[in-house]
Symmetry: C2
């Protein structure tokens, strides 16, 4: 563990008439042999006197590695090395999560989440972008909202841990390109408008006060590769170690956008597309975010439906992982054909509802309002289109690098969605490639994790540079044949079943099971 | 001329879908091949959009060389290279002078002086030091007073020139160690208290806002070698070129302290001592600063006194250059002996006044208040003690480096005092060494000039580093035999007349002149 920040206590020689060097020089001269280039700005210079002399020369220096030099961020009298903390943050458009990281122990001392205060200017990111467009005052409001969210989280962490979080040595923050633009006070409109060039992709270390934050150390912002390939993904790659991996891996972050990266230590290919809302249950009737009352898992055997409801009570709706289970089970049971059409003859639960076919996955006795819960054919198809887009991204990336799924050593699914989804269901519906379970990892909030990783290991700074340099970013819009590929991928699990030998086997097993009875 | 700041206009490629690099990267990538390491902070990043795109990619970048990297300080749409200014400042304890320097032409566009507003906290520097000692609020007052003086000068220059001085690319400032401590908000007490170690000697480039200044570029502070060897002297060495000189030179800055440096490009030895007040006419009865009514030059032939009065009117007192003339003339005329005693038998103008011998250098008819002006023997002796201290510093430095005056290629006298003093008088009284007139240069405000030099030629940054490294600083207090040497030097011109062959000759000539008549 070589944290981004170091805290060192040592004795510096007190001035004498023979050695009347300045306090500043005596500190820098003492450190220079071990640390090379050093920077000390005026804020820290002002901490030197009388601190050094009053403590008899015993001081503690905090310094941060910023890639080309160590920057002193604090000088204190005496030995204060026991206190050494940093902040890791994931700046999402909906919620923001922050961790207080103990840099001596390498542990998380506290963790807090809050809704992004920017939601006052628009629930979705596009509304906020238009709010800020060409309007410095509105941009300043968006900036302050982001900063205030971070400030409140710092207070939450302080309360929980008893640590004065303003004294942290640094904050490492990851967020998508738009969120980082807003935090910097930059107009994000160019990100959503051809040619999609950011204003700043890699701002690096920024002084906390420039962001309106009361924090001793600076803020490092994970760099973006492109408009839809933000610092949150780069952070995720650091967290999962893809850029250090010998074998080829896939990284898939399912959020508002679906961001996908394929590669290893030798190459990286990336692409992104709108994938999230449908997968997260947002655009499905009766769909809901994972929370109390959401159906998170489903299994079906011969019209018997077993539901697993978050919180254990009655069902109120279905969330992403439940949807994936439901579609997979219906397909394996033969209630759903490979084109996503419900088969009324295969199940008594399939009925005509509101002018279309639907499947009754929860009877009235098991729901919160006593009414049965239906899953509609049109929603199934919408979901399949989204997963087809995601799958096609994966397939195209693999093709770009001249490989197929047999070359994949691991598949990392980031985001809350990935954490709860069942591997078998995701493979069955063709959301994941046909990979064995041990190759699929649900890696959670890797944006936050990558921020913490960098706090704890400064060599990741070089890794990040390398990722940006090696990564090829593909604009999917410009790919010929993308639509045709996507249509094939909208089937369950795929029009070409040879790509899914496992699913073929599972379906056959299930059929045999039904026939036995 | 390679100014510290560069202003370049160029076309950067506009973003396309094939090249959607960020605005920030496109600027940095365009500059990097020619300029190597580049820094762009958030303030400048915020200037990028929509500036670049609205100007069709034609932008002007201002960047400042800070010794290890070019720091971008501004990005503007279009071609604004015609406007390229910097500020040079000499921060004195009494008065502060600032120049607006045209960095395209290498000329001074405007110049202004003001009294230092810190005088509200004490006329002399020691009063201010005790005012600020251990008191952050008082230190903040002293800091603000210095900053406000600079801000007012920036306004003066703006008014005079029509240039918005807040848009200057940088300010280079030189001042003594105490003045720089105050400007930085640092406690200056340790400078005047053994072991005399500064808090910060070489703070380098500081952000203008940290000093409370509204200025686009940063402020460079000339570094100090030691408590009494401040940035004003280092700046003077850059201005006079001593550290680049093949031959050995002397640099003598006669201000509140006398600072002395001997050396050339191979070595530098420096020392300082309290010298100024007496030489500047401050502690002499009837003495005054150079200004209207001050006697600035005196010549005497057989009791006939010719006076040159600043402004041409009646005399009100005598300033430094007049005192040097007066003492020299009295000595050459035989009215003053080599020990500084007035000889009543040699002149009818010598009388007993207020209990001691005095010389009437202005009769009532030539003075503003109608009363004659007297110069007292005790003031002569005080003046001689001061010049002895100065001389001893010179002699000791020469001895340290194993040389005598014959090795000196040039003698630069800095400060207002040096500008008006007559070479012959200064040699006669032994204030200057016995050097020919062409070797003595009165170089004026070299502190300000060195600031301007650095603005106009960035390679001086390396020279400054070299000066600090090579310079040996001597604490005169610790030198054995210093007092004895000083006593010998209190004679006119010196107890050892062999050191002053010119003066011996001049005195003989004058005697022969008197005898002829």
């Amino acid at each position: 563990m070589k944290p981004l920040s170091r805290k060192l206590t040592f004795q510096i020689p007190l001035p004498t008439e023979e050695d009347p060097r300045s306090d500043r020089d005596r500190v820098l001269d003492t450190l220079r042999p071990g640390f090379g280039r050093l920077e000390m700005d005026l804020t820290v210079t002002r901490m030197l006197y009388p601190a050094i002399r009053s403590a008899g020369g015993q001081i503690t220096v905090t310094m941060l590695w910023q890639g080309e030099a160590w920057h002193l961020t604090r000088v204190e009298p005496g030995d204060t090395t026991a206190f050494h903390y940093g902040l890791a943050a994931d700046l999402g458009s909906t919620s923001v999560t922050m961790e207080l990281v103990d840099l001596n122990r390498g542990t998380v001392a506290a963790r807090a989440s809050r809704y992004n205060l920017q939601r006052a200017y628009g629930d979705d990111i596009l509304t906020r972008i238009f709010y800020g467009k060409d309007d410095p005052e509105h941009l300043a409001q968006l900036q302050r909202a982001a900063a205030e969210t971070l400030a409140q989280l710092m207070e939450d962490l302080a309360e929980e841990s008893g640590v004065d979080t303003r004294q942290c040595a640094a904050m490492v923050l990851a967020g998508n390109t738009t969120m980082v633009h807003f935090l910097l006070g930059l107009d994000a409109f160019p990100l959503f408008h051809a040619p999609y060039a950011p204003v700043a992709a890699a701002p690096g270390f920024v002084r906390a006060e420039e962001l309106g934050l009361k924090l001793m150390g600076p803020v490092y912002l994970y760099p973006a590769k492109a408009n839809y390939m933000g610092g949150d993904v780069i952070s995720g790659l650091v967290a999962t170690g893809m850029a250090r991996s010998e074998g080829i891996r896939l990284f898939f972050d399912i959020g508002t956008n679906g961001e996908l990266v394929a590669g290893c230590r030798d190459f990286l290919v990336a692409g992104a597309g709108a994938a999230g809302p449908a997968l997260e249950g947002g655009v499905v009737r009766g769909g809901m975010c994972a929370g109390k009352g959401a159906v998170e898992h489903v299994s079906i055997r011969r019209d018997k439906v077993r539901l697993s409801v978050i919180g254990g009570g009655k069902a109120r709706g279905i969330c992403g992982s439940g949807i994936v289970d439901l579609i997979a089970e219906l397909f394996l049971e033969g209630v759903l054909d490979f084109r996503g059409r419900l088969q009324p003859e295969a199940s008594r639960r399939v009925e005509q509802v509101e002018g279309e076919m639907a499947y009754r996955y929860a009877d009235g006795g098991r729901t919160a309002d006593g009414a049965p819960l239906w899953f509609f054919e049109s929603d199934i198809r919408r979901f399949l289109e989204t997963k087809a887009a995601a799958w096609t991204m994966v397939a195209y990336l693999m093709e770009t690098v001249g490989m197929d799924f047999s070359h994949i050593q691991g598949f990392d699914v980031a985001g809350a969605f990935g954490t709860y989804i069942r591997w078998k269901s995701a493979v069955t519906i063709g959301l994941y490639p046909d990979l064995s379970e041990e190759k699929v990892r649900c890696v959670g909030n890797t944006s936050l994790e990558g921020a913490r990783c960098l706090l704890l290991e400064r060599s990741h700074l070089e890794e990040i540079d390398g990722i940006l340099q090696r990564m090829d970013y593909i604009q999917y819009g410009a790919i010929p044949g993308f639509v045709e590929t996507m249509q094939a991928a909208a089937a369950i699990p795929h029009l070409d079943l040879d790509r899914y030998p496992r699913v073929r086997r599972w379906r056959a097993q299930r059929q045999r099971g039904r026939e036995k009875v």
